[in-house]
Symmetry: C2
Subunit: 344 residues, 2 copies
DNA sequence: TGTGCACATGGATACGGTTACATTGTGCCA
DNA sequence: TGGCACAATGTAACCGTATCCATGTGCACA
């Protein structure tokens, strides 16, 4: 039915092993034979059976991406497409395929990973999140399966991972506000158990300290990666006797809530309150006003993490932690003086 | 090294074929033997080699999703995560894996698909877009490979596909505005070569006709699925002697541009101009005001399309075109009377 | 008591490749 | 002219599983 290596061999008048060698570009095959065999392959429309190949080579040329379980997906929602495009670009370039898997709970996730790894279906994998004391990481290390983390592990220092320098990113964002002449700068934070949150908080505090600006407890609000979180934060943060005139916000979605909250309270942005946030999702340039945001290089994160896994597969030495550069994208929300638009 | 079916067999004192049958839950295996073998499998930590299994069964339990090439991804960007989650949910439930593939151009895409299909790597696939005279569809039909389309084929009537009833959706959206007492309703359209655009236009026109409302050329603007498109449309559409007081907008992102354009022109929404749009992406409830939008059931689209492919693989009869119900999500942007929020 | 049959299991082979090792042929040199 | 190195190719084993076919056992029944 389907044309196999043997059919090609027979028709070309050579042995199957010769055909196999032609496919693999083996050096000790004569140019003449190679040409002829390739011609026959073309003629018969031969395509190697990938399963047979995998079985004998113990290699699948497939990398898996493990999707976080629903509870952890909120932030990811907006990143996902670009992240995957980055991953796919790198993998395709290297002739690898991408397998996506996940589970509805932690137990299921581990089972899936076990099945894929022990079943020899994948050569490596990518984890899109970092959770503390993750059994999957423990398992992968034990199995010596190449993998990389997008983000940062709170448990192990030496887990191969690709991340941003979130301390520096927050430092830069805060300094941007300071450079605009801001003196009273608040911080709308995320879940403090996340490394990302902790790091950004650190950067924020450092920038304030270096500029001799006050760090006030009341100007810092902890929340979730949700619109509501930013919205509610405004009620508490702006009701103080001396509210901040600028805010660093942990994430664009949260910033959107902040915008909404401030608008309802009658503040103008950026004239009354200036805003800087993080992640630069597609959303952030669509708001009114557009939000100044730190671009974290989502595509790069995916691209680099894949590259890291591929290197590990090829036994190439890698640096365990790669940092993707960030970039502050300045938009209207953070600028002190703005050309006012007069409706016609 | 890795534990195989033979190792289990030896330790259990049975033949490899018996172990194989235990795994497959073969009826003619004694309860006693089954129990014992399973115990040994557990003890040795046996996991079946998926490649070997695939090789002999000619089945991979893998479905591929082909990502559109960059040029066609604009709309998809916001859908993607939910769509994939729908796909993954269905596949996981049925014990299938998801392979993602794509190419940077049409040629590459076809090569990838050929490699996967002819290489026996997948059992079926999902196409996330519809392009006219698509060589991939032609190829898949020739190979008799199960596949389904998300969207609608403009070339073939009988391609298995999952879609919305876009005529009805637009009809409903327009009628919602009519029910609000709107008389002058315009339409901000998308690329007319797309079936989706054509269908929505049809539904819009039909609703107007049935309500004896005027359909004016000047109230209809064609564009792209871009923010700018909606933004620019406002300049032309609202500069007419008698501009519309309500707009049906082809997509949420475009609607966002519309919002921006109207705001700059000094119109209030919904008091001066009411807005209804489509797709109900996460964005649409975050705008000011939140946009009334037709939810197209993104998750369902993915879920159902996967189901369709799985059915085809199992040789179950299917209906070639499945329609996912839509649902109008009413928000502030379309309501005539709105409780005004007074800033405190 | 011998025949037939259902049931539980084993042996052998096939799936489509790769690769270690064996074999053949050629040219070159002593 | 015989021997040898080396290039080019063939032979056969193996990757881990599924399954066809054969086999042995116990039991009902004629």
């Amino acid at each position: 039915m389907t044309v196999t290596i043997k059919d090609v061999a027979k028709k070309a008048g050579v042995s199957p092993s010769t055909v196999s060698r032609v496919i693999a570009d083996h050096p000790r095959i004569s140019a003449e034979t190679s040409r002829k065999v390739k011609e026959i392959m073309e003629e018969l429309g031969y395509h190697p059976n990938l399963m047979a190949k995998s079985l004998v080579s113990r290699t699948t040329r497939t990398i898996a991406v493990i999707l976080p379980k629903p509870a952890e997906e909120l932030l990811l929602n907006f990143f996902f497409y670009e992240l995957i495009r980055g991953v796919l670009a790198q993998l395709t370039r290297s002739g690898y395929d991408l397998l996506m898997a996940g589970g509805s709970n932690e137990q299921e996730e581990l089972e899936t990973v076990t099945r894929l790894v022990r079943g020899g279906r994948i050569d490596g994998l990518l984890l899109l999140y970092s959770r503390s004391s993750d059994p999957i990481i423990t398992f992968l290390r034990k199995e010596k399966m190449p993998f990389a983390l997008i983000g940062r592990s709170l448990d192990y220092e030496d887990v191969p991972s690709v991340d941003n320098d979130n301390v520096q990113a927050a430092y830069d964002a805060t300094n941007h506000l300071i450079a605009q002449g801001q003196k009273r700068i608040g911080f709308v934070s995320g879940p403090t158990k996340l490394a990302m949150t902790q790091d950004r908080m650190t950067g924020y505090a450092r920038a304030l300290a270096e500029a001799d600006l006050p760090f006030k407890e009341g100007w810092v609000v902890e929340g979730e990666f949700l619109l509501e979180s930013g919205y509610r934060a405004m009620a508490s943060i702006m009701s103080q006797p001396e509210p901040p005139t600028a805010l660093v916000v942990i994430d664009d979605v949260v910033a959107f809530g902040v915008l909404k909250g401030l608008a309802e309270l009658g503040y103008r942005i950026p004239q009354d309150v200036a805003i800087v946030s993080f992640n630069n999702i597609a959303l952030s340039e669509l708001t009114m006003p557009p939000i100044t945001s730190v671009d974290v290089g989502t595509y790069q994160l995916g691209y680099t993490a894949s590259q890291m896994v591929l290197r590990m597969i090829q036994q190439v030495e890698i640096t365990a932690r790669q940092i993707i550069p960030h970039r502050l994208v300045v938009r209207e929300s953070s600028l002190r003086t703005v050309a006012q638009h007069i409706p016609s």
